[in-house]
């Protein structure tokens, strides 16, 4: 009934944004350090709920890299990586994230000395080497949450292995900080995480309506607390307020697509952080993104039921964090697209072939083939990089988008 209680009272969205924005996260990190809370540099898929439950403040280099790229402040971090002999063929999150760590700076200002490091070895192999660099540089305790490559993330042995590691993660934090574990606090954190994930899902559901009230560009920013603040009540409140705001917009028939939503699209891949105006350009042409694996499948409640079970926190977190799209067979990945194309009544797809992210890009062509075969939809593929703007040409992108829109228009006639 906690949900019903929450629904009676809508927190103010602006107030919540002030607490959870990127800048606010930075200020909270400084405050946490002042309070003597340990700062942990964590990879994006390390269960954050455990860190919040234990009083550890997480900092995410991938988020910091995306933010720095988004506000054109990533240059010095790439330079730092280049100076340390990093080839530009290496993932831009990794180069930028390491640059941030080595310079002890973020786009918002200096970063205090971290106390702990934790990485997942699930999303990509670079997470091992990246954190090894951090471990080598800072000489601080580092924990590797291992998730072997698999094509069957639902295997009970696999889940059990991951779940046991979460208990090891707790022991690691206790061994290296003054933080102590409390099952009650973890259950509470998982509950807040569940609620945040639930409202996020409800926001995404609103996009099935015509027109969809959400802009992918806005969602790309609003997803931040799902990465950086899950486990806190504020995050749940934020997503509830955000849901209510979008719900009102949906009821009022609002849409970010200029002149009305003429085309409903899927975006595949990480947003192009350094040129988010690509999304806006689509919207200016009356095309709106209504589904993305990035928003729908990468964050939030990724368990089979779509909810987290706070009564079995380790098990539910294991189910959530092992559910990695790129660890699934290509057919299974296609199933998500297939369903989304039907459920969201999609007119076309934009596939971002991301030079930085091998796991997301390899297999994309096969999904494209399957979508073309099953649905015959127009698909625009363009190559670029998630955080490194080098070589990206907005004018070229506009020309390609114009051509794509013409194809969509021709199909509507």
């Amino acid at each position: 009934m906690a949900e019903a209680e929450r629904l009676e009272e809508k927190p103010d969205l602006k107030t919540m944004l002030k607490k959870l924005s990127a800048g606010a996260s930075y200020r909270r990190m400084l405050a946490a350090k002042e309070e003597g809370r340990p700062i942990c540099v964590a990879a994006a898929a390390v269960p954050i709920e455990i860190m919040y439950a234990m009083g550890v403040y997480p900092v995410y280099p991938e988020s910091l890299a995306a933010i720095a790229a988004g506000i054109s402040k990533a240059g010095e971090f790439f330079d730092e990586a280049r100076d340390r002999s990093f080839s530009s063929s290496i993932c831009s999150y990794t180069r930028c994230g390491l640059g941030i760590a080595w310079t002890s700076k973020s786009a918002f200002g200096p970063i205090p000395e971290p106390d702990l490091f934790m990485t997942d070895v699930s999303l990509c192999c670079l997470h091992v080497t990246w954190w090894a660099y951090l471990e080598d540089h800072f000489k601080k305790p580092t924990f590797y949450v291992d998730m072997p490559a698999t094509d069957d993330p639902w295997d009970p042995d696999y889940l059990a292995y991951y779940e046991e590691q979460l208990r090891e993660m707790v022991r690691f934090i206790e061994d290296n900080t003054r933080c102590r574990f409390s099952m009650e606090r973890l259950k509470e954190a998982v509950h807040h995480s569940d609620m945040a994930g639930l409202y996020w899902k409800q926001i995404l559901e609103l996009r099935k309506g015509k027109p969809s009230p959400c802009s992918f560009r806005s969602l790309a920013g609003e997803i931040l607390p799902l990465v950086t603040a899950l486990g806190e009540k504020d995050a749940a409140d934020f997503y509830y307020a955000l849901f209510k705001t979008y719900e009102e917009a949906a009821q009022a028939g609002k849409t970010p697509a200029k002149g009305g939503e003429r085309f409903r699209l899927i975006w595949n891949g990480i947003p192009i952080w350094h040129h988010l105006q690509v999304i806006t350009y689509f919207e200016e042409k009356g095309a709106n993104f209504v589904w993305e694996p990035y928003t729908a499948l990468s964050w939030g409640n990724k368990t089979a039921s779509g909810r987290l079970n706070a009564e079995e926190p380790f098990r539910t977190l294991a189910e959530k964090y092992t559910n990695v799209l790129t660890n699934m067979p290509i057919e299974r990945r296609f199933d998500y697209f297939d369903r989304a194309i039907r459920d969201y009544d999609v007119d076309g797809l934009v596939m971002f072939s991301n030079r930085s992210c091998r796991p997301q890009s390899i297999g994309q062509d096969e999904v494209v083939e399957m979508v073309r075969e099953r649905h015959g939809l127009p698909i625009l593929i363009f190559e670029g990089d998630q955080a490194d703007a080098e070589g990206f040409n907005m004018q070229e992108a506009r020309t390609r988008i114009d051509g794509f829109i013409e194809i969509l228009e021709a199909r509507k006639r």
Binding site: R84, I90, C125, Y133, P148, D157, R358, I362, G363
Partner: protein
Amino acid sequence: MTSEFKEIFQQRHQRCRQFKDRGGKIVACFYGLVPKELIHAAGIMPVQLIEERNPEYDERSRLLPYLCGMSKNLAGQVYGDIYDYVDGVMVATVCDTNRHLFDIWQHRKVFPRLWLVRAPSTATELAVSYYAKELRRLAGELEALSGKGVTEEALRRSIAVFNENRALFRRFYEVRPSSGISAEESLYVFGAALVMPVEEHNAMMKRLLDSLPAPASHDGSVPLMISAINLNMALDVVKMAGRYGARVVTDDFIHNSRYGSDPIEDLSDPFEAVARGYLRKVPAPGIYSFEQRASYIRATMERSGARGLIYVVQQYCDAFAMEYGILKERLDAWAIPHLKIEAEDTPASIEQLNVRVQSFVESLM
């Protein structure tokens, strides 16, 4: 004697087809972290997927332009039916590209059987225990293919025969710098091990070690170590260095590094022994502790008397590219001369490195 190794390496596909015609089963390994002992214990011959220079393969691969040439080349060979004799392929993750190529091969059904080794990237007791269980799962899959049970006894025998191979290699690398064996010949001694029955390779190695050619006069040439993933590229660089007055006396070919230089321990549970033998024990880039990896290179250079290192990065190889930053830091701190070169696996791409290799060699004279 070394010409036999070269012949076997160069005729690997014909030989494998003959092996198959005689009723043998073959499982290909992609790459060197596949536990070959397990395949061997099931009565199956493990062979390594090996790059072969031919631009057609890269084109045929249909892989994205920013992926490594090694994966493109192997995929192209596979789509060109070069590995038509293979009964299955086992993929063990060494990088994101090789791991996700598995997805594409699985989707395209290019092999009769395909297994992804779910190997942990840590070596905690929990990881060892999980991996030992995973090895038992894979043993079941291999049993189904060969009809031969992977018993603990069979696995123990396989561990012993591969350990013997590792020991012979250690001896070979010890004597190589002072022998008359060239870097090119050594490459084939090593390459043959990847594509033939291990017992036969052991026998050949023993014969080779008993009849090593007398040391040639080195005329003051500069002894070097080479670290590379791509054997064709390594061979070109070896020859190029030779032209400018250097001789490569030891190497760190990644297949070899990943195969492991240390023996697998004899434990009561051989599955656990294989798990312990592979998890973060193999001195390869990307998945091995920096400290140990750098120390391993330094120690190898010291043992062989190499005075410089040529570190060959195949373009878009994340494992090598990521490792280099820290390796450079260590090598600089130890005052070990080194040259990093990055290229595609084409003669033209390698040839462009000419001046840099020449300058590096001259700087050590």
